[in-house]
């Protein structure tokens, strides 16, 4: 199996290097052929691995394949841990990546950086696979940083745009703040356990929960809680949880295919995956779980609201992604890791679909992204229309669609959870369902229905996108509908994650729900009777229809009425304002201040020149003997040397 795993990882890397270094020689067709072929191989092998593990019951693979370095008791290795969780992630990542690769042929058709783009997305696939397949913290961190770098490169892909290069720097720096916590967490675990290997570290979890450390005097924390919260700070950066969420909306400056691949389906879910992978640690710290659930719930609710006031089609989807990541985080905090991962998987399909559909609209309208200049596109772009509808329905949790199962179970799990803060989280995610439906269908109606507000020049040759764009849409639409129905039973309630995810018995809310689960059909019919979420979603769609189809003038009037709230939302709760004016400016001022005050005044001005002045004073006495700037120093040194040697001779 080791050969298979290495092939899965190294194929995209090799393709990326070829496309990147020899892009000019192999040409456009060469670049996309080789990268698509490589990712296709990775996908097929991943699917094979998933089948081997899930169906044929192959044993978990956990071994090192390469020794990076060894110092003292510390070994740094590259190794793979492949179990149910990993196999699922590998398949999702490579499948979405494959769709995006194909789609890119159409989307980047006219771009000068065509080969470079393919090289980057293949490199990303490699990095993401390294991240999910790792069996140790160091490689996890390697993948974690590498996906961050590729994301940086891709957000700033159109490097001539000032907004793009601002956005990519912002993304990287905000993530660095997250990494700060993440690496601290790793270092803390290493310090307490002496190992970087997952399995060995997990073995110490219970002991660590008993060891307490004092960070602020008088406050005793368990070492495990501190480590878990540090790790979670990393997840907050990568998975864009408040207050480190600010980079994700701006990352929409990058080309749409990567918004789908990186900023919706894969990289941003790395934090969720990481926490699920670390379940043996988080389970032993209720405090950490509580932090997770509260942060997740806040993100899920507040960022959803922001989606209501955006006019840029990609930004609506971006805020929707933030909100859904919040949902997944809530699931983790409720110890329903399996539900979180299940939502991650279904979300990867339908959110990638929504992004790619948005991209299809954007290229059809010649890079128009403002929804106020769209409308009535249904008749021009039927495939995009229907696939968007499928994606939106999956997102809001329409009964039977994939998002319905994952979200409904997630909400029920939170309802049953005993984690402190779960009650608050329950209300957040429940009201969030209404908000989700409202912004999703606001977007849907504004883009595809109603009055045609399109530029007449563009309208004259408006048509459906080419097959390389629509085929991936269809390929993603199918799992968006059926994947939940088909897999909810076996994956969530069939013990699929038993080996990969550890849940304490008293926290096992998914297990409790499983006891009441009697097949997908029964689950859907039961929801009509028992699920408030279903009716909230319906209400959201209805309100969207009322506001944007039936009485289109009303939203404007409402926003005038609640001006204060509207302004708060338009300014995104002033997070960006605070970061730019307080944090960024403060840091730069501190640097400038230190430069002027520290180096120039205190050290050079005070100490160095001050000592020169003392020497100068001294030299007044000996002025007749010495003159000239350099000699003052030399003279002082000779005196000093003589004095010191004299002292040594006397002393010894």
């Amino acid at each position: 199996m080791e050969g298979i795993y290495l092939t899965i990882v190294l194929c995209p890397l090799a393709a990326s290097i070829v496309a990147g270094l020899f892009g000019r020689q192999i040409g456009r067709a060469g670049a996309h052929s080789i990268t698509i072929a490589a990712v296709a191989v990775s996908f097929l092998l991943s699917a094979y691995v998933l089948k081997a593990i899930a169906v044929d019951g192959a044993a978990t693979y956990n071994a090192a394949v390469y020794r990076w370095a060894a110092v003292g008791a510390l070994t740094m290795e590259v190794g793979f841990l492949v179990d149910h969780l990993t196999a699922l992630m590998m398949t999702v990542v490579t499948f979405v990546s494959l769709c995006v690769h194909v789609y890119t042929i159409g989307y980047m058709h006219d771009d000068d950086g065509y080969q470079r783009f393919f090289s980057y997305i293949s490199l990303f696939t490699f990095a993401m696979l390294m991240l999910v397949m790792s069996n140790n913290f160091l490689q996890l961190f390697f993948g974690w940083e590498a996906v961050g770098v590729v994301s940086y490169l891709l957000i700033g892909f159109w490097y001539k745009r000032d907004t793009a290069i601002f956005a990519n720097m912002k993304a990287f720096l905000v993530n660095r703040v997250g990494d700060f916590g993440f690496l601290l967490g790793i270092a803390a675990l290493l310090m307490y356990t002496g190992s970087l290997d997952y399995v060995q570290v997990f073995g110490h979890a219970e002991r660590l929960s008993g060891e307490s450390i004092e960070i602020v005097s008088g406050m005793q924390w368990s070492a495990l809680t501190v480590a878990c919260i540090c790790l979670f700070v990393g997840a907050m950066g990568k998975s864009a949880q408040m207050p480190l969420h600010v980079w994700l909306p701006d990352s929409m400056e990058g080309p749409t295919p990567i918004s789908a691949l990186i900023h919706a389906a894969t990289m941003v879910t790395a934090g969720i995956f990481m926490v699920a992978r670390m379940s043996p640690l988080f389970e032993h710290s209720v405090t950490a779980l509580s932090v997770v659930i509260v942060i997740g719930a806040t993100t899920a609710f507040l960022t959803g609201l922001l989606g209501l006031v955006q006019n840029d089609i990609k930004r609506v989807v971006a805020y929707s992604t933030l909100s859904q990541l919040g949902y997944m985080t809530v699931a983790l905090g409720a110890s329903a890791y399996a539900a979180g991962i299940f939502h991650l998987a279904t979300h990867a399909f339908f959110k990638a679909l929504l992004f790619l559909a948005a991209g299809s609209v954007i290229i059809a309208l010649h890079h128009e992204q403002d929804m106020r200049n769209m409308g009535g596109l249904r008749k021009y772009m039927p495939i995009t229309y229907w696939t968007s509808l499928i994606g939106s329905l999956a997102l809001i949790g329409f009964p039977g669609f994939s998002g319905f199962f994952s979200k409904d179970i997630l909400i029920e799990a939170v309802h049953a959870s005993t984690t402190p803060g779960a009650h608050f989280a329950y209300w957040c995610v429940l009201i969030g369902v209404f908000v989700t439906a409202l912004y999703s269908f606001r977007m849907f109606f504004l883009v595809f229905h109603g009055e045609e507000r399109i530029d007449p020049h563009v309208k004259s040759h408006l048509h459906e996108s080419p097959w390389v764009v629509t085929v991936p849409l269809i390929a993603l639409a199918i799992p968006s509908i059926v994947i939940g129905w088909l897999t909810v039973g076996p994956v969530l309630f069939g013990g699929f994650f038993d080996e990969a995810i550890f849940v304490l018995e008293e926290h096992d809310v998914v297990g409790e729900l499983g006891a009441e689960f009697h097949g997908s059909l029964a689950f859907v019919t039961h929801a009509f009777v028992a699920s408030p979420a279903l009716y909230l979603a319906a209400a959201g769609v209805l309100v969207a229809w009322f506001l944007y189809m039936y009485r289109p003038g009303l939203p404007g009037q409402i926003s005038e009425k609640i001006d204060v709230i509207h302004r708060l939302l338009v300014n995104k709760y002033y997070f960006d304002w605070f970061n730019e004016n307080v944090l960024a400016r403060g840091t730069r001022c501190l640097g400038g201040g230190l430069s002027r005050f520290g180096d120039q005044m205190v050290i050079d001005g005070g100490i160095v020149n001050g000592s020169a002045r003392v020497v100068a004073l001294l030299s007044i006495v000996v002025r007749n003997l010495q003159s000239g700037y350099l000699y003052h120093y030399a003279f002082a040194m000779i005196i000093g040397l003589a004095a010191l040697i004299g002292w040594l001779v006397v002393e010894l």
Partner: protein
């Protein structure tokens, strides 16, 4: 013949640059001067690789030792040898000068031969510093390194070269003076200049503190540690490209090497006494250097302050007194030599085109200079320790090492890593991306083949060490263990 060669390998490596200086003397043609110097430095690279291949990593003592009586009356010998610590620095000293020659190919227009001789002189002197087993020999050549560097700055430097050169000399002299006092203090008590015997002598309690302090300050000024660093930005920014590369690449490392060679093994107790203060100064230096780098508008000053921050990591690692920390620190010294050397080379290539170091004069270089931007980006991300580049391994090991001492230092040092990303990426954004901000920046030509070749070896080394640091760590492991165990015997 072969015995003459094999038994005196280190002496050959030391002699090669000096022989080269002599050989250059009659040469008049510009191209011959350049290619001659390049050839001599490349021979030393080959010798260094041969040295490495013959080095036994399992041996924790000194290897390739040569000893000749020099001034028997004073007990001064010409004695050289390498252990795992010095080997890597010798490699670095051999590796950088050919790149300096390539980097000066077109940019040095006046008195070229003299400049090449100075490069060779620095290399020869540095070779001795890193291999000397005799404290007097060490000190003498330590002093010699200062002179060529001073002339490089004041004769070939930028507009502020006179002041920068003076500042460099004054600081260096102060440091040397303290070092001299320290070394004299040692030998007067121990009655020898042999570094190993110095370590075995028991010094009187009252003098230990003062000798340690003198040595420590001498090395700290050279490294430089906060608050003795203000000579560095001036010297770095005014020096010609090759000068900056040698300064950052190898000269600073004398400070770190001195700590490991003198301060730690000779005075383990004192090292423990001083350690808390040094660690605090280190983390303050890391953060301070980072903030300062953020505030710079001059490219070379930015890189110089990033050096201050990186050197903070070096002392942080050394004074955590464990294998992880010390090996991380040595690796950090080597990789800092690679990345910062490369940074100065590539910034120098930009300077050659426009004669401006101001960040504000550039912008949008990606459009006209994609190769340049690709290389600059690689070293920028390496500089803030991205995994799979050599700097990551060094910094990570240092963080691990210091975490055994006190976790607070890890937290603070990590802050420096975040700042590192901030100043490097912000620089990259302003220089490479967006639209050109000046007429000149929009008309630049991309790097020539020679210019790419100048930095390619460094790029390869940065990634190779990042992916496969094993051989370097193995080479130093036994020697570092020896030092660490010595330190651990202190009650």
């Amino acid at each position: 013949m072969s015995a003459l060669f094999a038994d005196h390998l280190l002496s050959w490596m030391i002699a090669m640059p000096f022989l080269g200086m002599v050989a250059l003397a009659p040469v008049r043609d510009r191209v011959w001067v350049l290619s001659g110097t390049l050839a001599i430095t490349l021979i030393n690279v080959a010798l260094a690789l041969y040295l490495w291949s013959g080095f036994d990593p399992a041996n924790d003592g000194l290897q390739f030792v040569e000893r000749i009586e020099w001034m028997p009356t004073f007990g001064i010998d010409y004695a050289v040898g390498v252990d795992g610590v010095s080997l890597l620095l010798v490699l670095l000293t051999a590796f950088l000068p050919p790149l300096c020659v390539l980097g000066s190919w077109d940019s040095i227009t006046s008195r070229l031969k003299a400049f090449m001789m100075l490069i060779l002189l620095v290399q020869g002197a540095m070779m001795v510093v890193f291999t000397a087993l005799d404290a007097f020999l060490f000190f003498m050549l330590w002093e010699v390194t200062m002179i060529p560097m001073y002339f490089m700055i004041v004769l070939w430097g930028g507009p502020g070269r006179i002041a920068a050169g003076l500042k460099f000399v004054l600081y260096s002299l102060t440091g040397s003076l303290l070092l001299l006092v320290g070394i004299l203090g040692l030998s007067l008590q121990a009655g020898t200049f042999d570094i190993q015997s110095l370590a075995d002598h028991a010094y009187s309690q009252s003098s230990q503190f003062w000798i340690f302090l003198a040595l420590f300050l001498g090395f700290a000024i050279k490294l430089p540690m906060l608050p003795f660093h203000t000579w560095l930005p001036d010297a770095h920014s005014e020096a010609p490209t090759a000068g900056s590369v040698l300064l950052a690449g190898v000269l600073l490392k004398m400070g770190g090497y001195g700590f490991i060679r003198f301060c730690l093994p000779i005075f383990p107790e004192m090292a423990h006494t001083f350690a808390p203060y040094v660690l605090w100064l280190s983390v303050i230096g890391i953060l301070y250097g980072g903030y300062m780098a953020l505030a710079q508008s001059d490219l070379k000053r930015l890189v110089a302050y990033s050096s201050v921050s990186h050197m903070g990591f070096v002392t942080l690692g050394i004074f955590s007194f464990n294998n992880e920390g010390v090996e991380g620190a040595i690796l950090q010294m080597v990789t800092h030599g690679l990345t910062t050397g490369a940074m100065f080379l590539i910034v120098g290539q930009l300077y050659d085109r426009t004669h401006s170091r101001e960040i504000a004069d550039y912008g949008g270089l990606q459009q006209r200079m994609p190769r340049f931007v690709a290389i600059l980006s690689l070293f920028a991300v390496a500089s803030f320790g991205l995994p799979a580049t050599s700097n990551f391994i060094g910094e990570f090991l240092i963080l691990v090492g210091v975490s055994y001492e006190n976790f607070v230092f890890v937290v603070l040092a990590m802050g420096g890593i975040v700042l590192g990303a901030a100043y490097m990426l912000w620089m990259l954004q302003r220089v490479a991306f967006g639209q050109p901000r000046t007429e000149a920046a929009s008309k630049l030509t991309d790097l020539s083949v020679r210019e790419v070749l100048t930095v390619t070896p460094l790029a390869v080394a940065v990634i190779a060490v990042g992916v496969y640091p094993g051989p370097l760590l193995e080479a130093m492991d036994a020697s570092v263990t020896y030092v660490v165990e010595r330190l651990a015997t202190v009650p």
